[in-house]
Symmetry: C2
DNA sequence: AGCATTTTGTACCGTTCAGTACAAATCAGA
DNA sequence: TCTGATTTGTACTGAACGGTACAAAATGCT
């Protein structure tokens, strides 16, 4: 647990809160995508000017990567809590409900940052596109490992395929992201979750 | 059935095939997204120069809308065939399999044009973003109506909810799109389809 | 007070963007 | 071989892009 109480330092003190500004940048990338978010959009939302942005975060891609980390740390903590559930069914149920809550929460952009910030891009942004792809894959891998454990523990039927089940749940999660970005309500998506769970073995 | 045999015309004849060029533009938008596709990308893939593009298609947004129509007419015809299947289960099974085939076909970009070409955008492209959203919604509506008919015909159990089922299937379809865009194979996605169908009532 | 250090605001850089002016080229019809 | 109509290639436009130079302002340290 590291304190964040800004050590004195010696030059002119920064006039904005770095974490709060990063949070605003995250929202811009989240709602407009990496390519759709201009530096003008970003600095306006963050309440700072360009040199301050570059001094604090580096270039646009570095700022984006900081936003990815921030999203994961601040918004995806429910995933670990879901993985810690005692049964496989409880894990996926908790995960799906958490996804719906995150992606339809008022005050934050609809949909999933990891999907819509850079699902596909032009040549100049292939790096961030691949970064998000890799992070999405990591989520699916974590779920697969959890289901493999559940199968070993007898908590998941012996003829179930953890890899396929993890991919199925991940696919629904990505679909929920698109639906949320398109304006679906949380009530609608909760009913999708209910139907999704009917495919669960056992 | 209208013939396309290029009527005589009187000025200098066009040196490229409009439909073939549109097909190339579609692929560029499909793989890079609306914002990620520059006019330089487009003209290079189409094998024409800018004035030819503007004379034949209008501005970038008009070209994009023509590509949307082309995609729908050329790639989504399987949807109508799926809706024509005799039973509700056959409808969704046919539709899901068609989606997997389309989104993992070699020679065309991975994923779904309707999703990734403009899932979210900057302010300058909200029009095309909304256009795609509306087209996606139309697909879900068509499926819902088909399932409502199936319920009336007794082909879908009386306690099933067509709206929820249509949204569930649509959500999986959107998820398949994201997975395909991320590099999932058709074999992997077919197994997702199998699991999806296990949630089907009856 | 004076110096070193850092941030801030303005004003700018070169590049790329979507879109176009214009003249040469190629056709149909007279 | 003209004339009118259309397409083609080059070369360009103004605007927006990401990124930065620079001087003024604000701090800690001596």
């Amino acid at each position: 647990m590291t304190k964040k109480v800004s050590i004195p330092a010696k030059g002119r003190p920064r006039e904005f809160d770095r974490e709060q500004a990063l949070g605003q940048a995250l929202k811009v990338f989240w709602s407009k995508g990496y390519e759709g978010a201009s530096l003008t959009d970003l600095t306006a939302a963050m309440g700072i000017n360009r040199p301050s942005l570059y001094a604090a975060f580096g270039d646009k891609e570095s700022l984006f990567r900081a936003a990815v980390d921030r999203y994961e740390a601040e918004r995806l903590s429910f995933i670990q809590r879901a993985l810690d559930q005692p049964t496989a069914l409880a894990v996926v149920e908790s995960m799906l409900q958490g996804v719906v809550r995150l992606q339809t929460r008022p005050g934050t952009p609809a949909g999933c940052f990891m999907v819509q910030a850079a699902l596909v891009t032009g040549d100049g942004a292939k790096g961030v596109c691949e970064e998000l792809r890799s992070r999405r894959s990591a989520g699916e891998v974590a779920l697969r490992k959890r289901l493999q454990r559940a199968k070993k523990e007898g908590d998941l039927s012996s003829d179930a395929n953890p890899a396929d089940l993890a991919r199925y749940v991940s696919t629904v999660i990505r679909g929920l992201a698109v639906q949320a970005a398109s304006g679906a309500t949380s009530a609608e998506l909760r009913r999708v979750v209910q139907l999704t769970l009917r495919a669960w073995p056992g």
